[in-house]
Symmetry: C2
Subunit: 218 residues, 2 copies
DNA sequence: AGTTATTTTCTACACTTGTTTAATTTTGGT
DNA sequence: ACCAAAATTAAACAAGTGTAGAAAATAACT
């Protein structure tokens, strides 16, 4: 049940999420955040201690539920496969679909959250540490599933392929409008349904190509 | 030939490049930049007018030469192909290799520059506009070559596949150390030679998978 | 050498930064 | 209704922000 100060707490996090997503950690002031939230400036520090803590809390807030949903999707795929290796496309879909789905149907907060992730992920300052902290256990589970789906593939290939997957997925969330410009309006950054149809087969084929490439040169 | 104030101009740009790459536009102060450059604070505004102009000039400085080299690499591939469609892997390699090569062998300035690009690319504030401004003409040339390499592929597939390529490539430049953590040291973010071997076949297979997927369902 | 023109330094402006403190108001439990 | 706990407000802190202008130093050209 909701405690006393939870509504203001959440208002501050909501405003912070939106603004951090737009201009990053340093591009936003505490005063902007509290103004957008409609509360006094001092409340940000009252509830979160520091700007940095607020930033962390915004990132953490949605991470747990997200990872649970993705883990469940993976377990469904594995259960369906039984003792056979799981289908690679389906594993990748379990990894990406919960994200794409929330971004498309979860309301603008989710868009902000993912745009924030997109920035954090590519930042040398936060990228390595924070992504590792919040997503590593889940990612390791997925990589293990991918290894089962692609037996006899060298580990280096798996990790680099995952890295490419991560980059492609995360740029999608940034929704910078670049593909809109490039395609003269034919494709839209916000059309995540198109991504959902294309990303799993695209990435799965890439994974398999690395596996093939390696078995050739033996 | 070098004009009078060019050395300080470059010192400021070098320092700005390094710092912007580490903490982004807002995360760095003009005073930090000039301190690292070893010059007076006022010189940043004297030479560049404003912090924002300095930022732009840093991004622009290496973009031109870079695009020339990539265009030349593409033209070589096309010349080699003659009247036949060019080889897809080779087109992708012409797109990525000049970047990976400079990052690996061009000294730390290039690493900074690409890390900066990695941040800008995923930022909603700069991403769409700046990348379009500096790289669009070249990217359109490459997309045209890819279309020739993959005849009868729907344009939407081409653009989305390019988008995935772009995300994978750009995350590589961020060198956040994430893959180092994830692989427990087996892979290293800085090992761009590994990327150079794997990215073109990975991406080419993805492109082809989208083409196949589409011709199936007719 | 003398006179521009360019570059560099120093100082200061007007304003914003994150955070803290103390006073005040509101709330929940008894 | 009373009291302690929690939440909110207003004010201020010291430090730092981008930028500009006048003075000084340096270089270039005739």
């Amino acid at each position: 049940m909701a405690k006393r100060g939870d509504v203001t707490r959440n208002k501050i996090q909501d405003a912070a999420e939106e603004l951090f997503a737009a201009r990053g950690f340093y591009g936003v002031t505490v005063r902007e955040i509290t103004r957008l939230a409609g509360v006094d400036t001092a409340l940000a520090n009252y509830y979160f201690g520091s700007k940095k803590n607020l930033f962390d809390s915004v990132l953490l807030r949605r991470a747990e539920g997200l990872n649970e949903a993705r883990l469940k999707a993976l377990e469904d795929v594995e259960r369906e496969a039984g003792d056979n290796p799981p289908d690679l496309e389906k594993v990748i879909d379990a990894f990406t679909h919960p994200l794409l789905d929330r971004s498309e149907r979860g309301g603008p907060e989710w868009k902000s959250y993912f745009a924030l992730i997109a920035q954090v992920n590519n930042s040398p300052e936060w990228g390595g540490r924070m992504m590792t902290e919040y997503f590593d256990p889940l990612v390791r589970r997925f990589i293990a599933a991918i290894k089962r789906a692609l037996p006899n593939t060298p580990d280096e290939d798996i990790y680099w392929a995952y890295h490419f997957l991560s980059g492609a997925l995360v740029l999608t969330f940034a929704e910078t409008g670049r593909i809109d410009n490039l395609s003269d309006g034919l494709c839209r950054s916000s059309d995540l349904e198109s991504v959902h149809r294309r990303l799993p087969p695209f990435i799965a084929a890439g994974f398999r190509a690395l596996k093939e490439r390696d078995s050739e040169k033996s």
